[in-house]
Symmetry: C2
Subunit: 391 residues, 2 copies
Amino acid sequence: MDFIAATYRLTCSAAEVERLSCDIALEQTVEVPDSLIVCPALREAVVGRVASISSVPAGNLLRAGLDQFDVRIDYAADLAESGLGALLNLIYGNISLKQCIRLRDLRLPASALSKYRGPNLGVSGLRQTLGVFGRPLLATALKPRGSTPQDLARRASEFSAGGGDLVKDDHNLVDTTFEEFRHRIELCQRAVLDGSEQTGRTCLYFPNLAAPVGELERRIEFLAKLGIRGVLISPLIVGMDQVRYLADKYPLAFMAHPTFAGAYFHDGTHGIEPGLLLGTLFRLAGCDATIYPNLGGRFSFTFDDCRQIDHHALSPLGNLRPAWPAPAGGMSFDNLPQMAQDCGTDSIFLIGGALLGDSADLRASTTRFLDRIIELFPDSTSAPTTQLNAW
Amino acid sequence: MDFIAATYRLTCSAAEVERLSCDIALEQTVEVPDSLIVCPALREAVVGRVASISSVPAGNLLRAGLDQFDVRIDYAADLAESGLGALLNLIYGNISLKQCIRLRDLRLPASALSKYRGPNLGVSGLRQTLGVFGRPLLATALKPRGSTPQDLARRASEFSAGGGDLVKDDHNLVDTTFEEFRHRIELCQRAVLDGSEQTGRTCLYFPNLAAPVGELERRIEFLAKLGIRGVLISPLIVGMDQVRYLADKYPLAFMAHPTFAGAYFHDGTHGIEPGLLLGTLFRLAGCDATIYPNLGGRFSFTFDDCRQIDHHALSPLGNLRPAWPAPAGGMSFDNLPQMAQDCGTDSIFLIGGALLGDSADLRASTTRFLDRIIELFPDSTSAPTTQLNAW
């Protein structure tokens, strides 16, 4: 039998850890006390197995009388056979409502991984599309909401003409009607293509795919027909399996925004490790890139959180393509060398305010940042890009 | 201009509270620093307004040097005009990734509320369907996963024959294929109807609607054709706007399960109040009933959490129908009087283990619990029920 191995960090007393571990194994599978399981075969086939319990070194002790333990529970893989929703429910459903259980690690067997298509383009596909190799991508966001479509398009054009690789909508840019959406997207996409014509390079525009559920496919079909190659999407808002559904059906790049996900990270004794949710699980959902709040920005991720997300996005995961880590915020011209060292080659540097604030001329700022990145990655190359045909 | 008023509890120092409040108002709307907003009209129309800051009495102080403040921010209602996803993003999107911000209260103007259909049946519609008035409903769950469809159906029949009002699937009952789903549901629905024939009363069966996104509608259409009047659904797994979409399209009852939602509650200084998420927001999504882990059960909700959910489910919210609070777990024959006092008339008592453990005969246990509930609510009546036609 194949198993899904989930490792939880429990904050509890040594006297409790075994009972609490068994409780998790029951809660997430049969949701009845062990005493009510009358059939041994059912226990064998369905109830999770506590595979190991290991004490976390005392340096991590949190409160007097409480220790921490890493508990691995093996779940029969067929419990999540029906898909991503079943997997989320299995690994962190009801126990999200309990106390001090942090999901730290997840190992899926090949049989389970093979059911996920994963990123459509991933790192190499997006590199091929852009013709950019050996260096991080330079990206920015169109904002703020309330700007006219013409203003947004002008900024998109300047960024593109300055040599930027990828411009996405702010996740707050939500158009109420399809007509508003169509009008804004056509202007911005045209502006990005105009900028590209000046450089002879490709710059991609990823609009925000944010609409009521019944309207999502109409919008993505419009984008694909327009020749747009990717979208920004918020998995915790539209639903992770909704992203998976769209990514399976439409061969675009999906760049994930972490909005509404922060409650899973805030309390270090509970929730889900950022790398696992924004890295592994978003990648299962088909995300080609995962945005996260970078160290030193307006948010509170640590250096380790950031590196963990990079790792989960890029490391081997069955046959799924690696996804781009996309640190956002906390970047300036002066700390690009540090970013280069911390994040490495396969990273999307998502730079907003620093680019706008660098000079009054967004085109010039973009070029200055791009040149600096190329300087920091001397092996970087450009190649002819694939033709951007309408799909 | 109409406003959406969101009240956050901030845990911070008095010196910081004003700046942090302004940060929230910017972060959730324009996502740029105030200094980058060049157009006053944009600030007026889009940026949230800090409407009030009030200190929380010192009894709630958490850590030395930190106080708590309730901060109301008014957002222009049209920022969430496109629907529930935009609303979630507006009230708790990016700030979920910040520190110590708890969403405590939400007031939507009539113009915003009128865009939501809300529960299809709600409290009165489900009462009419069941012909039960003046008392809480008696409900149970079919489990555990791994049982044969025949075993589940037998239990459904016994509960129905014992006079139970509503039997739902466990949220862990996820059928991988449509054929497995069809087979199990047909058996269980037939069993519930057989039980009803013995009592002359109506018992409803709510199957678990849990499948990959592209499969949900096929399943719900099958259920509706079978004459099934409601489903169990997990909004944090399938997506809240997915529930809204289905509830708008299919005139069934939607009973919400809180699985995967617990990370929003665990840390009292962050996340969203349970009443707001499981009550108000689920009701906006069209949920007719909201299950929550009852005081005294395996989970950690407090008395106040439970009452707050009851309140948000039942209290006036535009023209939306009231939804049923459905406390689950922590109930026994002996504490029914206490439950009756705490929860009142409009409540679904979701009793699993206590009913199974009460005697070897589920039918007899159900009757015993039902009789006790009727005794505790002497004004309760039954009326002829509406015909359960296929839809």
